[in-house]
């Protein structure tokens, strides 16, 4: 199932989830009602000898019980959902996480950040912020957020310290698979909903504690006190019934996805030893993957490893550890300690150590380099392959990104990860070739950011330019993460500067457009709050105007010749629908501004619609079999605007602009 299919499937699962939830609540009310009726009848019949028949239909009590239960559950779910609006970062902080700074000097933190950055660039998503849970000695990790654009990754202290780089990469790849498979949103909804059910048990616990739990003096032990304790106990029991159902629901929804994420991770890294090694280390470590934080229970389904050994398999959020390892490494015999010892005795599979694989790695990244505009390779690019790669990055993408990042000079890398200098890097990326415009732009930088930033920009500009056109979008993606550390007012100033720099040449080119869609859009969401995305358009009909604008613009932008652009449009249109729904617009009628607006609307359509739109866009860009780097960047920016992560384009016949 491809990226779009799994997004749709995740959405459908949400409806099933709601049904399960309603059934669970109904059963809880029923149980509580039965207990209440039983208790009251029993209590009444003790007090007076008149035989009060056990009447099972007592509407007053039913009303009270159902009203109370529904109120508590609604409260709990509402509370959690409100909390979750803070997004992934909120959850990470609740679990005691601390956000890692991009320019951290701790070597372990640096290693983790590098791994996450590599994976994110390879997958085509923004680089997520990484949270470290300092107080958790176990090996575990999670990913949370509503879309790939606002995802965060959380990692336990134990993971940081115990795993090798390959194993770390395996775990992070697993988490990225969750992000790309549409699990995260579902997980957050689960979390919000189920918290209400858990609340009943929590309240019951407090009721029992509050009413003395038996330590009060015997004079208190009148009927009223006894009944309250009984009620509290009943609530605890009911709460545990609820907990049972909650875990059942979580398990039903999440367990299959764990196998899937493991499999995707192996595909992503092409290195089964990585994730298998991590799982084996979890088995060998006494702390395992357990979490100390109490909050973690409600998020248990979002983590890499399970928290506890459930008595009943059906209640576990994760498949059994041994089974997971055997899916990846069939020879595993269940002995964790031996496996870990063996792995530590083997020399680490660093790519640099093995000359053969180093050569292969070099060849692969050179292949990427060739495609990166340093030469012309004759391998055509195929829209089908590009679409298949959406949400499904492979080792080739990782290698390409790794090579690209390795080639960055250290000064540029440092600047890119430091909020102060990163602004200068972005400014340098926007500098025009024409001397007059460039001078004007530098004045803007000076006016907005000051002397020192101007010096930085001048210092970094030659370094940035030396990287070539293919590195521009990855640099922007890294910058997008670093600039999150700006304060809101610092961001405002920066944003104004970017807009002015873009305006300086009185026209907006493809890279500038891509930069705005990828950088500004995500940072705007970060600083002004993102709302969970709504799906408003389920069919093409509602958005055909926007799609026409988009495809027309792409056709015109890629081809100066009218006939060529018309042909590109027609190919795209053919790929799009059986009947002709798209109307080509004239060159003047589809400015990039309108494209931006169209994209904003298209971002709210269903995954199926997005797939077709993206497919058509890909076809129109690739129509003549040649993709320039700028077109490639534009295509990826469009994919990003639709929240569909598209990995870097490889094997393209590219001409540098």
């Amino acid at each position: 199932m491809d990226f779009f299919g799994s997004q749709e499937a995740a959405r459908r699962k949400t409806s099933i989830l709601v049904v399960y939830f309603i059934i669970a609540v109904a059963l809880m009310i029923l149980t509580l009602y039965v207990v209440a009726v039983g208790t009251l009848t029993f209590a009444n019949s003790r007090g007076d000898n008149a035989s009060v028949g056990l009447s099972w239909w007592q509407p007053d009590i039913l009303l009270l019980v159902s009203g109370g239960t529904i109120a508590i559950i609604t409260l709990g779910s509402l509370y959690k959902t409100m909390q979750l609006r803070a997004g992934g970062a909120g959850i990470a902080e609740q679990l005691g996480g601390r956000r890692l700074q991009g320019n951290s000097r701790d070597p372990l933190e640096r290693r983790l950040l590098n791994v996450v950055e590599e994976m994110a660039l390879a997958a085509g998503t923004t680089v997520p912020p990484v949270f470290l849970l300092d107080n958790e000695p176990g090996i575990n990790a999670f990913a949370a957020g509503f879309t790939p654009g606002d995802a965060v990754i959380g990692v336990n202290r134990g993971t940081l310290e115990h795993l090798s780089r390959d194993e770390l990469q395996g775990v992070i790849a697993h988490e990225f698979s969750h992000i790309l498979n549409g699990d995260m949103r579902l997980n957050l909804q689960l979390m919000g909903l189920l918290h209400g059910i858990l609340l009943v048990a929590i309240i019951g616990y407090y009721v029992v504690r509050g009413s003395g739990g038996g330590y009060r003096s015997s004079s208190r032990r009148d009927k009223g006190g006894g009944q309250i304790i009984l009620l509290g106990l009943a609530m605890i029991v009911i709460g545990y019934v609820g907990l049972f159902f909650a875990r059942l629901i979580k398990a039903a929804v999440s367990r299959q996805r764990e196998y899937l994420a493991d499999a995707s991770a192996v595909q992503f890294t092409r290195n089964p030893d990585g994730i298998a090694g991590a799982l084996k280390k979890i088995g060998a470590l006494s702390a395992g993957s357990r979490m100390e934080s109490a909050e973690a229970e409600s998020a248990s389904h979002m983590f890499f490893g399970s928290f506890r050994h459930s008595l009943f398999q059906s209640l576990s959020t994760h498949p059994p550890l041994v089974k997971r390892i055997q899916c990846i490494d069939p020879h595993f015999d269940g002995d964790f300690a031996a496996a870990v010892k063996k792995a530590s005795r083997k020399p680490p599979k660093e790519k640099k150590e093995d000359p053969q694989s180093a050569l292969e790695g070099l060849k692969r990244s050179l292949g990427g380099m060739a495609a990166a505009g340093m030469g012309e390779s004759r391998i055509p690019i195929d829209p089908v392959i590009v679409m298949a790669a959406v949400g499904a990055p492979t080792m080739q993408h990782v290698d390409y990104v790794h090579g690209l990042l390795d080639r960055l000079p250290e000064a540029l890398r440092d600047a890119l990860h430091d909020p102060f200098s990163c602004r200068a890097v972005v400014a340098a990326l926007l500098l025009d070739g024409d001397a007059g415009i460039r001078a004007r732009q530098l004045q803007v930088v000076h006016a907005q950011l000051g002397d020192l930033s101007l010096q930085e920009t001048n210092r970094l500009a030659p370094l940035v330019e030396a990287q070539g056109a293919a590195a521009r979008l990855p640099l922007v993606e890294i910058a997008g993460n670093t600039l999150r550390d700006l304060s809101p007012s610092q961001y405002q100033t920066f944003r104004e500067m970017v807009i002015e720099l873009v305006k300086a040449d009185a026209k907006i080119d493809l890279f500038e457009f891509a930069l705005q869609r990828v950088l500004i859009r995500h940072l705007d969401q970060h600083f002004h709050g993102h709302k969970p995305p709504k799906v408003l358009y389920l069919a093409i009909g509602g958005v055909k105007h926007e799609v026409s604008t988009l495809i027309s613009a792409l056709s015109h932008l890629g081809h100066a010749d009218e006939a060529e652009s018309k042909s590109a449009f027609e190919q795209a249109s053919a790929a799009f629908a059986v009947e002709k729904v798209l109307v080509m617009r004239a060159r003047g009628e589809c400015s990039l501004k309108q494209v931006g607006e169209a994209l904003d609307k298209l971002a709210q359509s269903s995954a199926a619609v997005k797939k077709r739109v993206l497919n058509a866009a890909t076809v129109s860009v690739i129509a003549d079999g040649v993709v320039t780097i700028a077109e490639g960047d534009l295509l990826r920016a469009i994919a990003d605007s639709l929240d569909c992560p598209m990995p870097p384009l490889l094997d393209a016949t590219r001409r540098s602009m």
Binding site: D60, L63, L78, A86, G90, E93, P419, F420, S487, Q490
Partner: protein, 200 residues
């Protein structure tokens, strides 16, 4: 009769629930703003530590040429160690008034000591020309800029937090929930305000 009681009870409970939800909203808002300034301080931490790491190198390089200026050099090392300690305290408790003021004053002292060192270095032409010295100077300048920048970010975040905390209705609950006021990071010594840019 029972129904009437139930309705009143329900209304009362509903009111409590509403108040509860509002309180939760306020609490979450304050937590979020507090995390933001704590995070902003983490960035200052990175930059300050980088600066502290540069200073021993600076002193070592200068020592070779300024053999008779022991006091000035030692003053720099001592100021650096004091600032390091003060910074550790601040990292443990970002925004705490005592810790922040301690750090600000220690940083002020350090800036003054470095400034005096550079002023003295004017009379040592060999030192001025030394390549290592020039590199360290450039790194120091660059780090100073970044410290200033991250300080600005931190102060922005602290101001946002303090404002929210002092407004109604958060002001009613802040004390109860344990949200103290956060302190800005302002450095008082003028010499420190400019990056020690000695024009050779």
């Amino acid at each position: 009769m029972l129904t009437a009681i139930l309705i009143v009870l329900a209304g009362f409970v509903g009111f409590i629930v509403l108040v509860g939800l509002i309180c939760i909203g306020i609490y979450n808002g304050l937590v979020s703003l507090r995390n933001r300034y704590k995070n902003a301080f983490a960035q200052i931490d990175v930059q300050l530590k980088r600066r502290y790491d540069l200073i021993p190198n600076l002193v070592e390089t200068a020592k070779g040429y300024m053999k008779h200026e022991k006091e000035t050099l030692e003053a720099v090392i001592q100021a650096r160690n004091m600032a390091y300690k003060a910074e550790e305290k601040a990292v443990a408790n970002p925004g705490d008034p005592a810790a922040m003021k301690g750090l600000a004053s220690a940083e002020g002292q350090l800036g003054g000591a470095i400034g005096r060192l550079f002023a003295l270095a004017e009379s040592y032409p060999d030192l001025k020309a030394n390549e290592n010295m020039l590199n360290i100077q450039e790194e120091l300048t660059s780090t100073e800029n970044k410290v200033a920048f991250s300080r600005q970010g931190y102060n922005d975040a602290v101001t946002a937090y303090n404002t929210k905390r002092e407004q109604f209705p958060a002001v009613l609950l802040a004390g109860m929930f344990g949200f103290g006021g956060a302190e800005l990071f302002e450095i008082e010594v003028e010499k420190e305000r400019e990056a020690p840019q000695v024009k050779f």
